[in-house]
Amino acid sequence: MSYFAGIDIGSTAIKAAVVDEDGKLVGTRIAPTGSSFHKNAMETFEALLAQHGIVREAVKFITATGYGRKLFKEADDSISEITANAIGACEAGRAFGGVRTIINIGGQDSKAIQIDANGNVSNFAMNDKCAAGTGRFLDVAARNLEIDLEQLGDYHFGGSGAPLTINSTCAVFAESEIIGLLAKGHGKEEIVAGIHYSIARRTVRLAKRVGIEDRVYFDGGPALNKGLVAALQDELGRELVIPEQPQTTTAYGAAVLARSQYLDE
């Protein structure tokens, strides 16, 4: 049996995915990027293979993606995370009846991608060069509120009043705004909901730039946050399609591409 791998080296996490000869997903693995991402990427990849009893030689083609794609020399080829994300979402989206818009929120960026009827990228937009409205923003907020990142979703639904308005989407300025709100005696629940709505509004503006069409697929680590999902659906006025493992869509897309690149050659 031959296998094909995709490795997505992001700013926060490394994601690896392996597909088999038929393009079926064998498994995925996630690890923090850390400071020595090359070593961590290799370890994640090898651990994934070991987990599924695959020998290194059976992996015929590796495609790297994400910010570290150019520096991962073990890969046979590299592809931008926008294209990889689109391929992964289209494949994974079949189960939901096909997708035309992708919203991705990563550790340091957010993207909106428009897919044409043939499954190709027809337009995309990315946030500007700051971390506003990205996963990092949630990180900072959770730290200020002294709660775990995973708890944000529960807090979102725990409040009794309306979500507060968080004006600042800048991760640095939001910090002082959150501290100010806490000092005024606002509950963490209202603040968390406010943060989610603030990110959601920013994300919808980005998505509107490329055009929104059903179905809308939402992935990236923050898609695990139920509160953010609710806020985003509310702002969009549409249902979102969320995969089981929203963090690994892009790695999966790279693996799917690795397979077709190998078979084309």
């Binding site: 931008s80 926008i82 294209t83 190709n120 500007d128």
Partner: protein, 426 residues
């Protein structure tokens, strides 16, 4: 303007910072690409000498600085003076110039002011006897007084905000005539029919060389890369015009022989890009380089540091000097596709024409953050191109290098989508 950044304006510091920026870029341009044309050696050396080693800019007679392509250079040459274009592309001077302008303003204007403020700026123009500043966008217009406060003599060349009406045309013709008077005062010379005719012939030869180069880029697969084309046109800013023309003619000859040999400077399926928007000015060739490092090839442009500056020519078919000056003025107004004009449908038409003539796969639109006119025209250009099914990538950026990673991802994704489109078409 009481506080002067004395440290930042120190000569040795400027030279070293600027030289490092220029050197890094030239190394990338030369070393990261195989198959650079041999005739490009002249331009690589020219930039190294002028930007890295501080070699003074060559000129004859009075040196007149220009801040825009709207300054009629034939007039300057006709008075025995030499024009040098001061528009600056350096991040170092952009930071110095930030002291003079509001936070969200155009890096080009900031860098130009910064280099004028800095002592021993590069390129080393020695003494500028006059700066001619066409009143184009608000930021350039307001820069006049700031340049004067730095001790420069500045001539405001008043440009109308529209170009189609007869009023605008007459206004501009008068404006160009008063510029001629200012040059007469400055040089103590008289404008004659013969002088102007000779000056027009000189720029015409340069422009003819440029046009040949431009046409050679229609070749598919590409004969040479856009990063070199931008370097060539950027050299026109400050190089001796006759030397420049000869160097371009040599490059053209080499490209012609490449054509007969069937040489390819880029892969057969490399997406062909038309570049438009805010001008790439050395050493800020960030975006064209990222496109070509990612496997695309810039085959044509619609910018004021290349095509818009050199494509449209003047011809001498008037018998009287006054009519010649008016004719010259028309050439600087009518064909210009700068977004400062109230109505600018010409830019849309020109882009569509270039896209068709150069067999373009996609357009990259650069808007400098703070360059409002380009930011404002984004929507209309996007609509026109979309209606013709031409994909466009809009990039808002500035001179700082910190968005390179993010930009390269966006550019690669754009090129990947163009390749897929191309495959599907076949």
């Amino acid at each position: 303007m009481n506080s002067t950044p004395t440290d930042a304006a120190a000569p040795a510091y400027n030279r070293s910072r600027q030289a490092r920026e220029a050197e890094t870029l030239l190394d990338r341009i030369e070393d990261d690409f195989p198959d650079n044309p041999q005739a490009m050696r002249y331009f690589y050396d020219l930039f190294r000498n002028v930007y890295c080693h501080g070699e003074p800019v060559r000129h004859q007679g009075t040196l007149v600085g220009t801040t825009c392509i709207h300054a009629p250079e034939e007039l300057i040459y006709a008075f025995g003076a030499t024009p040098v274009r001061l528009c600056n592309g350096s991040y170092h001077y952009d930071q110095i110039g930030a002291d003079f302008m509001p936070a969200k303003s155009c890096p080009l204007v900031k860098a130009t002011l910064g280099s004028l403020h800095a002592k021993a700026a590069v390129p080393n123009t020695q003494s500028l006897e006059l700066i001619v500043n066409p009143t184009t966008c608000d930021q350039k217009t307001k820069a006049s007084a700031m340049m004067e406060a730095m001790g420069y003599k500045v001539h405001d060349l008043e440009l109308p905000p529209a170009k189609e009406s007869e009023e605008a045309r007459l206004y501009w013709q008068r404006s160009v005539r008063s510029f001629a008077l200012r040059l007469r005062e400055l040089t103590g010379r008289k404008l004659t029919r013969n002088n102007l005719k000779a000056a027009m012939a000189r720029t015409a030869r340069a422009q003819a060389a440029f046009r040949t180069l431009h046409q050679l880029r229609k070749s598919a697969p590409a004969l040479f890369l856009g990063k070199d084309a931008f370097l060539v046109t950027n050299a026109y800013f400050f190089d001796d015009i006759d030397r420049w023309t000869e160097a371009v003619e040599q490059l053209n000859a080499e490209l012609r022989s490449r054509q007969t040999e069937g040489f390819q400077a880029a892969q057969k399926r490399a997406p062909r890009i038309l570049f438009t928007g805010s001008p790439p000015i050395f050493p800020n060739l960030k975006l064209p380089l990222l496109i070509e490092e990612a496997g695309g090839v810039v085959v044509a442009d619609e910018t004021c540091s290349a095509n818009r500056m050199l494509y449209d020519m003047t011809a001498v078919d008037e018998w009287l000097l006054n009519d010649m000056v008016d004719g010259l003025a028309d050439r600087y107004l009518k064909p210009c596709t700068c977004p400062i004009f109230t109505r600018n449908d010409d830019r849309q038409r020109r882009l569509l024409q270039l896209a068709a003539d150069f067999n373009v796969d996609g357009v990259v639109y650069q808007a400098f953050a703070g360059c409002q006119v380009y930011e404002m025209e984004y929507r209309s250009i996007a609509d026109v191109l979309a209606a013709q099914g031409i994909p466009m990538l809009y990039v808002e950026t500035d001179y700082s290098p910190d968005d390179m990673g993010q930009l390269s991802t966006r550019i690669e994704a754009f090129l990947e989508s163009l390749k897929t489109r191309k495959r599907n078409k076949q």
